[in-house]
Assembly symmetry: D2
């Protein structure tokens, strides 16, 4: 940590800061400049942070030097990338995952139709929500347990691993019976109790970036899971909130190469929720794949007009195979190996 002193800081103020740093067992190094003095504090970050030096007499500002996350950082693996194996489907490194399925599990027919279509089209996992966070208390909140059963049936029929959201730690047990990947939604990215629980569960976790979360905060959320000994974390960019109102959220694709530089964890992109409209999903999917994403999690529905939730943004099942081929071509530009079997 570097402490930048004010231009008019007195010698006493400088010494007082140095003494406080040393009082917690850290080492204080003074760098006098022509205009201001900078003090380096070397030692345990959390001890130094608790000194609350911001706002102390003579202190202009405190600049953190080290990153606050460790287990999620690229450095911990010396640049090697994590490759997860989800029931035989790999994600990360050269491996691209295409996770597809309806926004919400609505009925047996809807889910199985979607599951068979995306499986035939080249998807590598199936997504679908049994528990849905909704802005309105009056909206449909998912089929719950019944939705989980349907997901289990879809998996049995297609062999596709299941990605589904957990909203409430009290639902962990039934969800674990079905989910191959536990999804933490954007609204729960900083629900720390929930993150710790899924960490302890040991099941792979996909964490969506909160709609105004920095990359550092997303990595800190991953750190909550990793800290419990669960190494299988996937990061997901799904759009951030900006001033632009032409679309619901602004997909931040710079996050893809940046997260891959900061962390060893796989990075996927959700191209459906940000634009909120079907016609923008394909160009954004191609962009995400070309930017080097390790996967895409996209919404597909057999009859979007009749969807209970987010119909306008869901791709049609009949368009999926062609879409998947274009995504594969874009991923190839970024160096990924083909994920659609030649026979599809």
């Amino acid at each position: 940590m570097m402490i930048v002193m004010k231009q008019d800081a007195t010698e006493d103020e400088i010494c007082s800061v140095m003494e406080r740093i040393e009082s917690v067992g850290a080492c204080a190094r003074r760098s006098p400049g022509e205009v201001v003095t900078v003090i380096g504090a070397i030692g345990d970050r959390s001890h130094i942070a608790r000194l609350n030096l911001e706002g102390s007499a003579g202190v202009e500002r405190v600049v953190p030097i080290l990153k606050p996350y460790k287990l999620a950082s690229a450095e911990i693996r010396h640049g090697e990338r994590s490759v997860l194996d989800i029931c035989g489907r790999r994600i990360g490194g050269d491996h691209f995952a295409l996770i597809a399925g309806p926004c919400t599990v609505e009925s047996r027919d809807q889910l199985l139709t979607a599951a068979h279509s995306v499986n035939a089209g080249g998807a590598t996992m199936l997504r679908g929500g049994a528990y849905k966070p909704r802005t309105s208390p009056y909206a449909f909140h998912g089929l719950g347990i019944e939705g989980l059963w349907l997901l289990a049936e879809a998996k049995a029929q297609t062999g596709l691993p299941i990605v589904t959201e957990l909203m409430d730690a009290r639902d962990l047990e039934p969800v674990l019976e079905v989910a191959d990947v536990l999804q933490i939604g954007a609204r729960n990215m900083q629900n720390y109790a929930l993150l710790s629980e899924v960490g302890r569960s040991g099941r792979p976790v996909l964490i969506k970036r909160g709609l105004s979360s920095t990359l550092e905060e997303l990595l800190m959320a991953a750190e909550y899971v990793l800290k419990e000994g669960n190494e299988d974390v996937i990061l997901c960019e799904r759009g951030i909130r900006t001033f632009e109102t032409a679309y619901r959220f602004t997909l931040d694709l710079t996050a893809v190469p940046m997260l891959k530089e900061l962390s060893h964890l796989p990075v996927v992109v959700d191209p459906s929720h940000a634009p909120g409209r079907r016609d923008l999903v394909e160009p954004l999917s191609l962009a995400a794949a070309a930017a080097g994403a390790d996967g895409i999690i996209v919404e597909v529905h057999p009859a979007p007009e009749e969807a209970i939730c987010d119909g306008p943004q869901q791709l049609r099942t009949e368009d999926f195979a062609r879409y998947a081929q274009k995504v594969e071509a874009a991923a190839a530009v970024a160096g990924k190996v083909p994920f659609i079997p030649a026979t599809v």
Copy 2:
């Protein structure tokens, strides 16, 4: 809901939209313009919303006309403002509440010193966190149950009602034994399971606006609580995330008069977390009071330099009485009745 058709929408597309509106029992009214046709859909909002008309053939966009919240709206009380009575301390209407205390309960001595100081200085309630949401899994997360006991002792000694945060529905029972107001933190503003639980508890709830939540989303969070039959909700502006990096968050004081126009619920402001520094807390507090806030929730600590969490933003107990008097003067400009007894 108004459906704006594209300029080149065909007659068939227009009819198809109207038929779908009528298929859910709503009424469709066509307003042909010189350039585009607009279709009004009148009837149950949730039924029409499920039609997913956005993205349908010929549809340019869908404009909602009615507000999505009902119980939180100003209209439901015909302009009358809610006044809450928290153990005899009123908030809302002409009544201003000054809620003060440390960020986190750290020790018996720290809490009781702070409690007696703010009580003597004119505070109307005591705040203090026993459970703390922290960005880092390695940081201090509060004293938990022990912190709750200390809050109970502070209340017994000073008579101040207690405002404290609930982070996890599984902690509801012990927190209810102490809290007169349950605080829902900004990170949990869209934790719907938690909102429903505190709704069912019947205890007054203070909901902090999420750092990138719109006012409409904040009111929808209130709606989750109100829907359970709990009428005692306080809204809290605490700063939003913007591009400006000179301070942690940007306090949005326009939210104060705007929320008071949209809703009957009391609106308070947290001037501590947004600037993250002590010297900006007073000007922002005066601004909030002058803007018409129904209260302020501010952090005060007997020795901020030694605070475990957020020391740099906490006011000093010795400065509190003078601060409270200035806040009262600013609130008076906005028409509030004095809240500091003349004998203080």
Copy 3:
């Protein structure tokens, strides 16, 4: 325009709004709903806008129905895309333009080296700034006229059309002697005097999106140019300002397909300024091309370490040819025709 009345608007207030609409020669249509009344105003948009109905008694809000731009809209060309011909290089439709060169013209040697390199590597135009807008009055502001001469020499040697920025209407004459495309920088996107001048000049114009401009505002800036009879406008996304601090600006690639839906004008992307660092330029370039951009304007320098301005984000000339080939492959995924001659 639709005027949404308040729930408790009186009959008198409704009639008063209708009378005012009709007083400017427009037609007022009343749509009574179950809860609120909506009034449609049909006629000249600018007349109705000047009625200032927002804030009138009984009015909840005013919803514009028509887009404020005409000449820039997709509708005016019935979906056909504009293809510009810049000295024989085409941009728009199926044609992709790779505009490359140094941020700033620094010296004869630097510019000519860069120009020959990008020409050999497959660039279709040369960029370079003679006049540089700088946040600091103490920074280097470009070589001015001398820089223009050097650009002219580079064009003579390579045949590459020149894209260069105009900052001040008083410099228009000398800039017109060299520039094949006049660039309007992000900071000047709403400098309306400048936009009108370049409109009158008749020379092709590339307008960069302001760092907090909506797509609608960018299209309105284009409208200022188009209105003067100049049809050759290129739109450029270059990153917007958000809360994320891991990079300078957040590149908004959703803008690419969205602008192409709203407008007939070509859309290019600047992948250099937003990340502010070289290693992110390639993934963002591939993403932009895969998203369907009509071109990329990228910074390339023979010795970025010695660049006077923005060195860290400039590609190295020796890496350019390989980069250009990857961009071409990504553009092909989005359906663009090859732009690098097979002999390169």
Copy 4:
């Protein structure tokens, strides 16, 4: 400047950075830490900045230590505040300025009615636009020279100093004949040619913060004016762009105390443009004054319903005197001296 090296930076990379710093005549100081090495560069900031160390081999990031502005900084006056005298009306320090008048000069009658009303109500200066920047090329752009004549007449009749906007350097001469304060609008805050011109004019300048400009950028805009020898600069907060759509812009009142800490220049607030609606203007004005603003610049119109521009946000002349008295009371809470003569 501090250069933070990567965790795995080699000794060669560290030495190379130090050599480059010393090659421009600056001094390099190495601070080895437990995890990373930090190098301090002491010497001329602009020389070091041109080294482009970001992105160099082994460099993690570069942290600027000194502020980029000098003449605008609080340090240059050792904490003393600038007090400007505009034709006998003071602003800054203990002096509060209430600048009021119509958004746009529309007619002789409109302007003189407004001028006399605000003068009688206690305003200290008159505002009014003769040149109006408009998002649409089809909108009214002001009366131009004729508007300037009317402002001169209003000044002659009331004695109020005139604040009016300059949009184009080519209009400087006529505007200087009337304006006592030259206003630079938010869209032109980074129009550096214009800033330099008004700097050279020597006339007091009011600079509005760009709608996505940081405080540092606003101070750099002031620096452009100050650098030309013009010491009379007023900073103006007028709302920034955020994700919130309930109002046009989000007024950032934290900017008021923060700018007063960073700079010696007076800070005023425009409470009219951000909310865009009359009923929010008073609470925001009171908030701004209580936050310590040195003045307010507010729009007042004799018949807002008939205003050509921004009618819904303009106060009515008949409400102005009462409004001014409340603003004065709020400013008093922040320590300002009364500005309304007792006889008003």
